[in-house]
Symmetry: C2
């Protein structure tokens, strides 16, 4: 992946390609090319470029937690607000590193105003959730306050970024 912060230039085809991929990464290169009305070769070259530029971060299958629960038992999704004792960069970065390293943390956002971080976590059960809280919050003296809300239903999961020049 290209690591420089050079200015990246994207034309309308790149944007349509990114948009198609963030909605359905299961399409074959051929199907994708047809949808964008470009040749398969062009489509492939562009996709490779967008990957090498780091714009496409990962491709993943999103599993359905409700369905999976029928087979594995219910997991526990929580939205957690975390406030630290101090807001200097070292303190923030320290907590962030620990949060990101925790496998049960699915998402981590630095936010403002309000708490310092919002996490989305998913644990197998309540003991696992409590153990995560022990590791990540109780054992960390830089954590001042924690509020956890448990998800009773994930109504939507569609992390699509708006690609403005598309006119969406």
């Amino acid at each position: 992946m290209s690591e420089e912060n050079e200015t990246i230039s994207l034309d309308a085809t790149d944007l349509r390609l990114l948009d198609a991929l963030q909605r359905d990464a299961g399409l074959s290169n051929l199907a994708l090319a047809e949808r964008l009305a470009v040749s398969p070769a062009t489509c492939l070259r562009r996709t490779r470029r967008l990957e090498s530029l780091g714009l496409i971060e990962q491709r993943l299958a999103v599993l359905n937690p409700q369905r999976l629960a029928l087979a594995l038992g219910h997991g526990l999704t929580a939205v957690i607000e975390v406030t630290l004792e101090r807001q200097d960069e070292a303190t923030l970065a320290g907590f962030e590193t620990r949060a990101v390293a925790e496998p049960t943390v699915q998402q981590c956002y630095r936010v403002s105003p309000g708490p310092d971080f919002v996490l989305v976590t998913h644990c197998a059960d309540m003991p696992a959730h409590l153990a995560m809280g022990q590791r990540l919050f109780t054992a960390d003296s830089s954590v001042r306050n924690v509020k956890a809300f448990f998800s009773t239903k994930r109504s939507k999961f569609a992390p699509y970024l708006p690609l403005a020049p598309l006119g969406r």
Copy 2:
């Protein structure tokens, strides 16, 4: 997609397959089969079954918002807590339907205790964010209270579900 709520039975190979796919849906069937030490045919059959059972909800490319911002200008990610006037199912379902239909809403969770919903939204800019707030909250008399936190950095995005019998 199978719509019945029949008991779904998953063996260790199914779980390893789901786990591989939720971490990397870019693998070819051949590579996947090799990783799981099964034949390509088995791998493909199993994948199809998991899709038809609705366990695999979608395949998507996750874009990097920081990188994309270099080309498009920064967007605005917010975590929003929403409390409604009443908590009866009709009121909850009404708001949920509107939230899910809003394209800027990336994720929607019903939660308890605390607020009734937590949303993760992404808008092109502040005017777009305010317009979303107008549509979704101000215009809805069932909404009592809204708290929005703006994300200054997405530190982690890895919506992997724990597949317990794997021993992870």
